[in-house]
C-alpha cells in the first residue's frame, strides 16, 4: 500500500489492521486479572532491592577488615632516623675545608663540622 500524503487514511488503515491483529492475540481480561491477584498472593522471593543491599553490605564488611591492616603499615618511622637526612648543609663548609688541609689532621671537636662530608683524615 502506497502512502498518500494528501490524507491520513493510509496510516489509519495500517494502524487499524495492526489493531485487529493485536485483538486476536489479546489475553483475556479475567486471566490477566487472576494472574495479577496470584502475583499479589505470592510476592517475589527476592525483592529487587536485595541486589543493592547485599553488595553494599559485603563491601562494607570487607573494608572494615582491610582498613585496620592498612593502618598498621602506615605507622611513621622513628624521628631519629628522619632528622639526619633532613639536616641542611652547614653554611661554613666552604671555608672549613681549606682550613682542614693545612692542619695536622685533627678533627675539630666543635659541632659545626658537616656530618655529610667525607674528610680525608
Amino acid at each position: 500500500m502506497k502512502p498518500d500524503p494528501s490524507s491520513d487514511t493510509d496510516l489509519k488503515s495500517r494502524f487499524a489492521r495492526q489493531r485487529r491483529a493485536d485483538a486476536v492475540a489479546s489475553p483475556s481480561f479475567a486471566g490477566t486479572l487472576a494472574a495479577a491477584r496470584a502475583q499479589k498472593a505470592s510476592p517475589e522471593e527476592w525483592p529487587p532491592l536485595v541486589w543493592i543491599y547485599v553488595p553494599v553490605a559485603a563491601a562494607a564488611a570487607i573494608s572494615a577488615l582491610i582498613m585496620p591492616l592498612l593502618g598498621e603499615k602506615r605507622t611513621s618511622p622513628p624521628l631519629a632516623e628522619v632528622i639526619p637526612v633532613l639536616l641542611p648543609a652547614s653554611p661554613d663548609s666552604g671555608t672549613l675545608f681549606p682550613a682542614l688541609l693545612f692542619t695536622d689532621g685533627r678533627v675539630p671537636s666543635d659541632s659545626v663540622l658537616p656530618l655529610h662530608l667525607d674528610f680525608p683524615l
Binding site: L11, K12, R14, F15, Q18, P27, T32, K40, W51
Partner: protein, 170 residues
C-alpha cells in the same frame, strides 16, 4: 472500590493490551507482565485515577510508566553485578524479533518504521491512529504539553511516511 475500578477497566482491556504491546516493542519486557503489574497496582490501591483526563488516558499513563519501571528492572537484572551474583550470562537482545516474526507484511513494515522513530513521536502516533486519541488526550496520557504533542505528531507523521515509502519502494 478496587473491584469497581477493575470492572471499569475491563472494556479498555483490548486497547490496553495493544498499548502495552507498543510500549514493550523493542525491549525484552513482555506486555503480559506489564498488564499484570499494572492491574496489581490497581488491586493494591497504588494506582488511582487522578481526575485529570479520562479513565482511558489515566490507565494508558499507568501502563506506560509500568513499562518503564519494568525496563529499568530488567536492565538492572542484566547488569554486571547481578550477572556476577547469579553467575548466568546476559540474555540476548530481542529487539528485532517482533518485526521478524510478524506474518503480515504491512503490519511488519509499520512496526519497523515506528521502531525507527523517536520514542515520543512513535507513542503519539500510536495513540492517535491506533486508539483514536485526540492529540490533547495523547498529551495527557504521555504527561507532556499539548504543544509538544502536536510537534511530535506532525514530525512523526512526516517521518513515518518517508520511512514507509523507503521500505516499500514498489
Amino acid at each position: 472500590m478496587d473491584d469497581e475500578l477493575t470492572r471499569s477497566l475491563e472494556p479498555l482491556h483490548p486497547d490496553a493490551w495493544g498499548w502495552a504491546r507498543h510500549c514493550c516493542s523493542g525491549s525484552r519486557v513482555e506486555p503480559e507482565d506489564v498488564l499484570q503489574i499494572a492491574y496489581l497496582k490497581v488491586i493494591e490501591g497504588k494506582a488511582r485515577p487522578s481526575g485529570k483526563g479520562s479513565l482511558k488516558t489515566w490507565w494508558f499513563g499507568v501502563i506506560r510508566l509500568t513499562t518503564k519501571e519494568e525496563q529499568r528492572r530488567r536492565r538492572f537484572q542484566d547488569s554486571l553485578v547481578d550477572r556476577l551474583l547469579r553467575l548466568v550470562p546476559a540474555r540476548g537482545e530481542e529487539a528485532l524479533t517482533i518485526s521478524l516474526t510478524e506474518p503480515d507484511e504491512s503490519i511488519r513494515g509499520l512496526k519497523i518504521a515506528l521502531s525507527k522513530l523517536p520514542q515520543r513521536q512513535s507513542e503519539v502516533l500510536h495513540l492517535v491512529f491506533y486508539h483514536d486519541f485526540s492529540i490533547a488526550d495523547a498529551s495527557v496520557a504521555l504527561g507532556i504539553s499539548l504543544g509538544s504533542a502536536r510537534t511530535h505528531y506532525e514530525r512523526g507523521k512526516a517521518r513515518l511516511r518517508e520511512l514507509l515509502t523507503t521500505t516499500e519502494p514498489s
